[in-house]
């Protein structure tokens, strides 16, 4: 195994050796397939907390590199410092490669790989970090870089190490603490345990600068990959195994990243995705460990550059008659963004078009972990009233409510940097005629299918028991759940406030009339006058209450309703992530089964079928890495999205609450005016 061979170099302390050797033996066993049961045995060795995450057979394989990484810093710090560092570096790199070949267990590859990797890794690194004092760090750093390319098992090991780091494993911290020295020149000042990765990132950053405009992209990418695991970079070595230079690897990565970055055309990214996945990974691994603090800083930057795009939904208009009637809305856009054909444009859209837009967007983006803002719900009752009733005030209120909701919906869509890039969004805003969205009808076949899908989703959601290893997600999912509860409660209260205020408004109106009557029967002239003035004041106050009720509803109640829907969308993203995880786990299980088959074949000595089994293993290994990568990508995206969402939410709430308070302030000021005008009247009673 990689780990064992890495440790085998002479300078390692003796004490470690036996264990290491054992490891190596096991590794060999694993690959010769003699004893599967033994494969599991090393797990006790790996004492790191995150161990149980990978309770698959891979575990033992992981544990080794992990211990390797962990033990390395000590070794190096203790024993290696005096030794010529260049040697070590060489050792380190040449060794792992052997392992790598072992892991891949294809003898043919074994030879070319060492060469390829040996050279590039060593050359650039030693160049960059030529100074002796820094060297040991450099070496270590190389380790980190190097580990990922080492075959699937290795990569996960790194991941494990990473998670170990997350859990603030002492050893790991040591390892990482050393690194800042090397890093000093880097722009991101951050906590020690994370520095490695910022460093890595900045390293990467420097290199690709020659190519695109990668600094920005990088910042972006850092955001996309907040998952604390260096993602499966293993396959990168395999798929891109031909890389002659590390430089290449990274520059590639950046190119791919640029595709990944939300600023770029998403379509392109989608197209390239399958092939992209591999190169993206190493970068993801580098950036993924960027401290959340840095992440937030970056987020801040992102949120600063607001885009110039104003959307308004106006002029609701009833089109047609009877039950086939529908409401059409004018959607006007004002922008200076160059991606649009002109600065201002207006289209007419009906409600189902809005729903259709959502369908399209969620189909494309939900699976990637994007929070797609949900449109307002269909309301058969409300719409029927609009269709049937002529000038009913309640239907007017319904239309206005929906209009405002649609406007907010569109604003949320375009304020999402990735969704804004979607051609469907642009089409919706710009194109004169849209094909009729049929699948949005509640009673259509598509609607039925959707319902069916939802049902199966719900069932599978219940059956999947995800063992959440990511603390961040664990907490966040709980938070979202709590928050939704709170919002629902609050929403009920605000609804009751709206109702009570409407009631108050009505009662004030009735009282005003009654006081006016009383004033008319009063035989004292001054008192009679004062009473009719009082009636007028109460009338105005009634208006005030009415306006305030509208404010209660539109700025407060609807805000909560929106966020209850949005939290639903957030939960949908979590579900997507869980699904991705489930797929990955299923693939792991399958791989395990295939390995068992291979082992049996080896035991039974049936070489004829062995090749087929090996092919299958390779195939499933590829799938596992792919699914794992997908899971990591979706985790990263969801995380980024949720952070973005939280920020938006805080901003939104603050803005709306201020707006609401201002409306209250306004009505109180009016109230003062009214009463102050009345005061002399009251005093005039004689």
């Amino acid at each position: 195994m990689a780990a064992s061979s890495e440790r085998s170099p002479p300078p390692f302390p003796d004490s470690e050796e036996p264990e290491l050797l054992e490891d190596s033996d096991e590794g060999a066993d694993a690959f010769t397939g003699t004893s599967i049961s033994e494969m599991d045995s090393p797990s006790p060795d790996s004492t790191k907390p995150p161990k149980d995450i990978f309770n698959e057979p891979l575990e033992d394989i992981f544990s080794d590199p992990l211990s390797n990484i962990n033990s390395e810093p000590q070794k190096k710090v203790d024993t290696k410092i005096p030794s010529p560092s260049s040697d070590e570096a060489v050792d380190l790199f040449s060794d792992p490669l052997d392992d790598d070949s072992e892991v891949v267990s294809s003898p043919e590859v074994q030879n070319p790989m060492p060469d390829l990797l040996n050279e590039p890794v060593q050359a650039p690194k030693s160049d960059v970090l030529g100074e002796p004092p820094v060297h040991k760090n450099a070496a270590r750093q190389q380790d980190i870089f190097e580990d990922p390319p080492k075959g699937s098992s290795k990569s996960s090991s790194v991941k494990k190490a990473a998670s170990a780091e997350l859990f603030s494993d002492e050893d790991e911290e040591d390892l990482f603490k050393e690194l800042p020295k090397v890093v000093t020149k880097k722009p991101q000042p951050s906590g020690p345990p994370v520095d490695v990765f910022t460093e890595v990132k900045s390293d990467v950053k420097v290199k690709p600068q020659v190519k695109d405009d990668p600094t920005d992209l990088f910042a972006e990418e850092a955001l996309t990959a907040p998952a604390p695991k260096p993602s499966a970079s293993s396959s990168s070595s395999r798929t891109n195994g031909v890389h002659s230079e590390e430089h290449d690897l990274f520059s590639e990565a950046t190119v791919e990243l640029s595709l990944d970055s939300p600023r770029n055309d998403r379509k392109k990214k989608d197209a390239v995705k399958p092939s992209v996945s591999a190169p993206v990974a190493p970068v993801a691994s580098s950036s993924s460990k960027a401290p959340s603090k840095t992440l937030e800083e970056l987020e801040e930057e992102e949120s600063e550059d607001t885009f110039d795009l104003n959307i308004s939904v106006t002029n609701p208009e009833k089109v047609g008659d009877g039950m086939n009637a529908y409401m059409a809305y004018k959607v006007s856009t004002q922008t200076s963004l160059t991606m649009f054909r002109s600065k201002t444009f207006t289209v007419r859209r009906r409600f189902s078009d809005f729903l259709g837009l959502y369908e399209k967007l969620s189909e494309k983006h939900l699976q990637n972990g994007y929070i797609v803002p949900p449109p307002p719900e269909k309301s058969i009752l409300g719409m029927t009233k609009v269709k049937v009733g002529k000038e009913d005030p309640s239907s007017a209120e319904f239309v206005e409510r929906r209009r405002a909701a649609l406007e907010r919906y569109l604003q949320r869509v375009v304020s999402h940097p990735s969704l804004l890039q979607d051609p469907d969004v642009r089409e919706f805003l710009e194109k004169e005629e849209l094909p009729r969205a049929v699948s949005t009808q509640a009673l259509s076949g598509a609607g039925f299918l959707k319902m069916l899908n939802k049902a199966t989703d719900a069932v599978s959601k219940m059956t999947i028991k995800m063992n959440e290893q990511d603390v961040w997600f664990d907490e966040k999912i709980q938070d979202v759940e709590n928050e939704e509860q709170h919002m629902r409660k609050l929403h009920v209260m605000v609804e009751s406030l709206v109702n009570h205020r409407k009631e108050l408004s009505g009662n004030t109106a009735v009282f005003a009339k009654s006081v006016a009557m009383l004033g008319s029967s009063e035989d004292n002239t001054a008192l009679s006058r004062a009473l009719s003035q009082l009636a007028e004041v109460e009338d105005r106050i009634e208006q005030l209450h009415q306006e305030q009720a509208a404010n209660d509803f539109f700025t407060f109640s609807e805000l909560l309703a929106d966020y209850i829907r949005l939290l639903g969308a957030v939960k949908g993203c979590f579900d997507q992530r869980m699904k991705a995880w489930q797929r990955w786990q299923d693939a792991e299980n399958m791989l395990q089964k295939k390995r068992e088959v291979e082992a049996k074949l080896l035991w039974a000595n049936k070489p004829d079928k062995l090749q087929q089994a090996k092919d299958e293993i390779a195939e499933w290994e590829a799938k596992v890495t792919q699914y794992e990568r997908e899971f990591e990508r979706i985790s990263a995206t969801v995380r980024k999205e949720v952070i973005r969402f939280d920020k938006e939410k805080a901003r939104d709430f603050k803005r709306q609450i201020i707006k609401y308070l201002e409306s209250l302030l306004n009505s109180q000021q009016q109230l003062i005016k009214y009463w102050e005008a009345f005061l002399p009247e009251a005093k005039a009673i004689a």
């Binding site: 009570h500 009662n507 009654s514 035989d523 805080a650 603050k654 302030l665 000021q669």
Partner: protein
């Protein structure tokens, strides 16, 4: 047991005060009320310089039923038929919140501060109408000399007035029925005096209007209180949300919690105050005058009754003269009826005129006070809201 101290908020207490206690020779107030299960014991405090009282100062405990007894005895006194008898205070409406009263008796710990405050307010209102009743009596030149009133004020033991039994309750109900039927009959009696004709029409009209206005005002203040309650709940929930949230925006939300707490004070409390002050100053006023007008109508009824009696006695006298039998007795009767009617008319005219003046003064006072309070609360709320908005905007 809870006692409500009146001097806590004098300004609020005198919602219907009609400058009754301008005569220092007999000053009555209720400084304390004791809540005992479903009963309220009022401490009636009297200070007097009148020679008819044996001591210059008294402090006795009276229950609501004692007040009713006093009112009933005054109503039944023939002598006072020509006066507007101050309306009896309404029975403390603790039937609904009886349970809460219970809690109030047990101590504040078992109920929330808000509930306690509400109960206290309710009790204050009750105390106040009882106090006003006594003050109306004490400020009236006739009633203040009433024997029963003096006993009520002086006797330092429990009055142990007999609670009305079922028969009497029914009797009272029957009397009311007769009265209403009589009213219809009497309204057919041709009015001889322009003043009373006008007064009658006015009071009938006014009484229905003010009843209506009172009901509407009650509804309005009730829904206003609901709004205040909603705000209270909402800001509480917002506070919880802010406290529970442990996202990266906790810091931001903690600031918000501070603001929300302020909001709870500004919106909820101020709205509540607005509602209760409107209730105290306006609704109570309307309520009181609904009763007072009923008392005035009762006076008119008694006078109309006397008028009818007089007319009947006239007829009887004519009959007697025709028959030449019992003429002297009929003459005597007719003379008495006329005397009674004239006396009623005279004092009634005086009473009604002073009633009018009193009403106008009370309306003026209450409307001014209410307006000033509303302005005060709104200004309070404005400054709190401005502060909150600034805090929010600054962070």
């Amino acid at each position: 047991m809870t006692s409500i101290s009146e001097d806590s908020d004098k300004e609020k207490v005198h919602s219907v005060s009609v400058d009754l206690n301008n005569d220092a020779s007999l000053v009555i107030d209720i400084p304390d009320a004791l809540c005992e299960r479903d009963k309220v014991k009022f401490t009636v405090h009297t200070k007097t310089t009148l020679s008819s009282f044996q001591k210059p100062e008294y402090s006795v405990q009276r229950q609501h039923e004692d007040f009713i007894w006093l009112h009933d005895t005054i109503v039944e006194t023939e002598e006072y038929a020509g006066l507007i008898i101050p309306p009896a205070p309404p029975k403390p409406d603790f039937e609904g919140p009886r349970e809460k009263m219970h809690k109030l008796g047990e101590g504040e710990s078992s109920m929330t501060k808000e509930e306690y405050a509400k109960m206290k307010q309710e009790l204050e209102k009750t105390v106040q109408v009882h106090e006003v009743f006594l003050q109306r009596l004490s400020s009236h030149p006739m009633f203040r000399k009433d024997r029963n009133f003096q006993i009520f004020l002086e006797y330092d033991q429990d009055l142990t007035v007999r609670r009305k039994n079922a028969k009497e309750m029914f009797g009272g109900f029957f009397k009311n029925m007769v009265k209403s039927a009589d009213e219809v009959l009497i309204s057919g009696v041709k009015e001889v005096d322009e003043f009373f004709e006008q007064e009658k029409n006015f009071l009938l009209d006014y009484s229905s209007k003010i009843k209506d206005a009172t009901a509407k005002a009650e509804k309005m203040t009730r829904s206003h209180k609901n709004v205040a309650d909603d705000y209270n709940h909402i800001s509480g929930a917002l506070n919880n949300t802010a406290a529970d949230n442990n996202t990266a925006f906790k810091k931001h939300l903690e600031k918000c919690a501070e603001v929300f707490e302020k909001l709870r004070v500004s919106i909820s409390k101020v709205e509540d105050r607005m509602a209760s002050d409107q209730e105290l100053k306006l609704t109570e006023l309307l309520r009181y005058y609904t009763r007072d007008i009923q008392a005035a109508k009762d006076l008119l009824y008694r006078r109309a009754r006397a008028l009818a009696d007089y007319e009947n006695s006239n007829k009887a006298l004519d009959k007697a003269r025709l028959k030449g039998k019992d003429v002297a007795q009929a003459e005597e009767n007719q003379k008495q009826c006329l005397q009674k009617f004239d006396k009623l008319s005279e004092s009634g005219k005086k009473e009604l005129t002073s009633f009018k003046a009193r009403r106008v003064v009370a309306f003026r006072k209450n409307l001014i006070e209410m307006t000033e309070l509303e302005i005060k609360h709104a200004k309070n709320s404005v400054s709190l809201l401005q502060g909150s908005i600034e805090i929010l905007k600054s962070n």
